[in-house]
């Protein structure tokens, strides 16, 4: 018989520490799917001009673009929060004010980079 878990989602108020942590895991899974998109792109590129055009057209379509933007945000968020994790691995930045500050910094920078990427992508 499986053992019961103590309640967590029903009890604790979402805070920046917990939300950013689960977002890191969530974007990680999303990026695993993004790897499949990289594979699609490589497949289109390897299969000739027509397939490549099909793939890039799908990426540029509205559904493809939405998914693409989510992957871009996932990448930037996972990247910057990953750097934050690596600093923690070195033992730096563990005190709570720093955790909060770096957390907000990570979210803002991820959004900015995503918008920048989107802007440059649309412009070119």
């Amino acid at each position: 018989m499986p053992r019961p878990l103590s309640p967590h989602l029903q009890v604790y108020r979402p805070q920046i520490t917990s939300v950013l942590s689960i977002l890191h895991r969530f974007t990680g899974v999303g990026l695993s799917f993004g790897l499949l998109f990289l594979l699609c792109w490589l497949g289109g590129l390897s299969n000739g001009e027509i397939s490549y055009k099909k793939v890039t057209d799908w990426f540029g379509s509205s559904l493809g673009f939405i998914i693409f933007f989510k992957i871009i945000f996932s990448f930037y968020y996972h990247f910057f929060n990953g750097v934050r994790h690596l600093f923690w691995d070195m033992g730096k930045g563990f005190d709570l004010p720093t955790v909060h500050k770096t957390g907000i910094f990570v979210v803002i920078v991820s959004f900015l980079c995503s918008l920048l990427t989107w802007g440059i992508g649309v412009w070119s």
Binding site: P2, L36, G43, Y52, K53, F75, I120, G121
Partner: protein, 124 residues
Amino acid sequence: MTRLNDDLSTIRAQGSAQNGRNHWKAQRVSAVILAIVGLWFVVESLTFSTLSYAQMLLWIQLPWHFAGISLLLTAGCYHAYLGLCVIVEDYVRTYRMGIWLILTMLMVGVYSLGVAFLLKILGA
């Protein structure tokens, strides 16, 4: 139903669970590699929509670019595999024999597909 062995002897016979050191270290090493190569790829990909098919092929066939994409694929698949293993270990309560085998084979499959595409691009 009568069993010939009790739970304690079953658990003892399975031996030690070893340690998680290598998993942790491999995750961090692949993260650093992926941070560099992934950022490089995202920055380079901003110009991809302006390139024609032939130009894109030429771009990817340059040695450093090809090495970069290969590294992205390798480190990406490995990092994703390690991360997904952790997620499975966290959320799956009853372990079935096939779970890690399925995960491993998925990753190896994705990786081989990527390698196949890259080799085809190299030959084109």
